[in-house]
């Protein structure tokens, strides 16, 4: 027990001292192996490290990352946002709704929250302030709307959760749409209230002729969500196949149709995507090693025994889960939070009869709230560096969104059908 506490203490010291996250996961895992499971041969470590990433489902991640890099650099993201603006931009505070809708549209092709903050921040933040929104509200909206990217498919976080738990990625994706929409609606209410309070006017009314023109303008870009979502839900593609097809489509559209992608550009983007892939996969590899030892040490059984001794039911357990993930999400990146907390908590959740898809939504929403929660939420820093604003200014505008998020989190946690209704409808 003392040795175990020492290992956890070492992990915490490594984390706060700024060691690379894969060292924070790997060093304690190897220590546990040497202290508690010394009879296992050392090469089992390499076997688990490679086994942790050599999986078909995970192949979707590098493909989606490459597709997102291609679209972020090219025209697809911009055209999707223009389309959203032409549909809702004329309403009072319309540019605020455009930020939310644009983030969802960009999330529907990228799956990465920091990438969404960066792209949307550059595109629409200046328009928000010139429309009359207060600066700090605009900053808060840009940073928090990007969270929807973790929920709206294709979400890398949901793919990893599905791989870790065996839950169907297609079901998780459908559930993510519903939960992402709930979050979007909650933010839209804030925009409506703020627009009225600050006397923000709407943009110029767009005629239906102009709207059709912007749909035509975005037609090639709309093909992307069609391939990804339509392909997966119709059963035509597996998630990984849809991901590979989306890369080929993005290359075709950006290079041949829009003519913005050169061979040199493709080289640079592919290299960047390879490095982004490695950053995530090295965490999966060493996180897989850690979770192997968590399972061997029967940590989930100990948690379950503790909870039943404390007479805690699912309601109490979910509250504990929310607090644990919120705190983790505030300090570490989404993937590491999943890798550390899902292995011990997921078996407890299923033992308590909580639906795996519902649990996945709770976990993902928690992590996304953590990304905007001061003082260390990752998206706050991405927004600060992209928009050239002090982190403190962004933090001052983020509180209403954190509060709105917690309301959404409570609704999602304690109303399971929001997460399970659509997957059950789509897949039976």
């Amino acid at each position: 027990m003392i040795l175990f506490a020492v290992v956890i203490a070492i992990a915490i010291v490594l984390l706060v001292s700024g060691f690379e996250m894969f060292l924070v996961l790997g060093v304690p895992a190897i220590m546990v192996k040497q202290f508690f499971y010394g009879s296992l041969p050392d090469p089992v470590i390499v076997q688990k490290v490679v086994g942790g990433i050599n999986h078909s489902t995970l192949l979707a991640i590098p493909f989606f990352i490459l597709a997102a890099e291609l679209m972020g650099d090219g025209q697809i993201a911009r055209r999707l946002t223009d389309l959203v603006q032409s549909l809702v931009g004329h309403r009072r505070g319309g540019i605020g709704y455009t930020v939310i809708g644009g983030s969802m549209a960009f999330g529907s092709v990228s799956g990465s929250a920091p990438a969404t903050v960066a792209a949307m921040g550059r595109m629409v933040y200046p328009e928000m302030t010139s429309a009359g929104f207060r600066d700090r509200f605009s900053l808060g909206l840009v940073a928090s709307s990007a969270e929807t990217a973790l929920l709206i498919p294709p979400s890398i976080t949901l793919i990893i959760y599905g791989w870790m738990t065996g839950a169907s990625v297609a079901r998780l994706f459908v559930a993510g749409i519903a939960v992402g929409l709930v979050l979007g609606v909650v933010f839209a209410v804030l925009v409506a209230v703020e627009a009225r309070r600050s006397g923000v006017s709407g943009g110029a009314k767009t005629s239906w002729r102009e709207r059709f023109a912007s749909i035509r303008h975005a037609a090639w870009a709309l093909g992307m969500p069609l391939i990804i979502l339509g392909g997966i839900y119709s059963g035509f593609f597996t998630t990984t196949e849809a991901a590979a097809a989306s890369v080929v489509y993005a290359i075709f559209v950006e290079a041949v149709v829009f003519r913005t992608l050169t061979l040199r550009g493709l080289f640079g983007i592919t290299e960047r995507a390879a490095i982004s892939t490695a950053i995530i996969f090295v965490l999966l590899a060493l996180g897989g090693l850690l979770s192997y030892f968590i399972t061997l040490a029967q940590v989930p059984n100990h948690i379950l025994a503790f909870l039943s001794a404390a007479d805690a039911g699912p309601v109490m357990f979910l509250l504990v889960v929310n607090v644990a993930f919120l705190i983790a999400g505030m300090f570490i990146d989404p993937n590491s939070a999943l890798l550390i907390l899902v292995p011990p908590l997921y078996p407890v959740a299923t033992a308590m009869g909580i639906d795996p898809i519902h649990f996945g939504m709770i976990v993902t929403l928690n992590i996304s709230v953590g990304m905007i929660t001061p003082p260390f939420g990752l998206d706050l820093f991405v927004a600060a560096s992209t928009l050239g604003k002090p982190v403190m200014t962004i933090i001052s505008g983020i509180w209403p969104f954190v509060a709105a998020n917690l309301v959404a989190l409570a609704i999602i946690t304690y109303v399971p059908p929001i997460s399970t209704f659509l997957p059950n409808l789509a897949f039976g």
Binding site: D42, I279, I332
Partner: protein, 167 residues
Amino acid sequence: MRKALSLLRTAERLSLVLIFLTMVGLYFINVVVRASGSSLASDLAWIEEAVRLMNVYLVFLALGLALERGRHVAVDTWRNAIAEATRLPLRKIIDTVGFVLALYLVWIGCEMTVFVFGTGQRSPTLGFPMGWIYVAPTIGFALLALRYLLSFAGVIDRFSENREGGA
């Protein structure tokens, strides 16, 4: 020394791009053939396995470059403050721990590779010796160990860039 390092970087970058685009091409061919209902589909079962193997190589070959560019995820908020408060050479300590861990993984990676090659185990569809899959982490962690060493020696500065974390 600088020239050798620059050659290594070029080799790493070229391998990554080639492997990645080949993965996309192969997997896409697989999808098209399956969707067309062609009888070729069963002949292409090896593609899935080949792409997974390539992905393992992609990941491990990128580890060193990612470290050199300061791209690996870390909570670096308090790093400088802790280093100042404790007067510890924290960056050197991180480099040392990283180097030792990477070197240890290279060592057991070699052991595992030799062992699996020795068993004569072959992959199910491609039929290649399974030992090749363990060559990837062995090379990858060697590239990582090298970058930790170079950072420790001050040849590369991996801490200067701003990080944006993971996905």
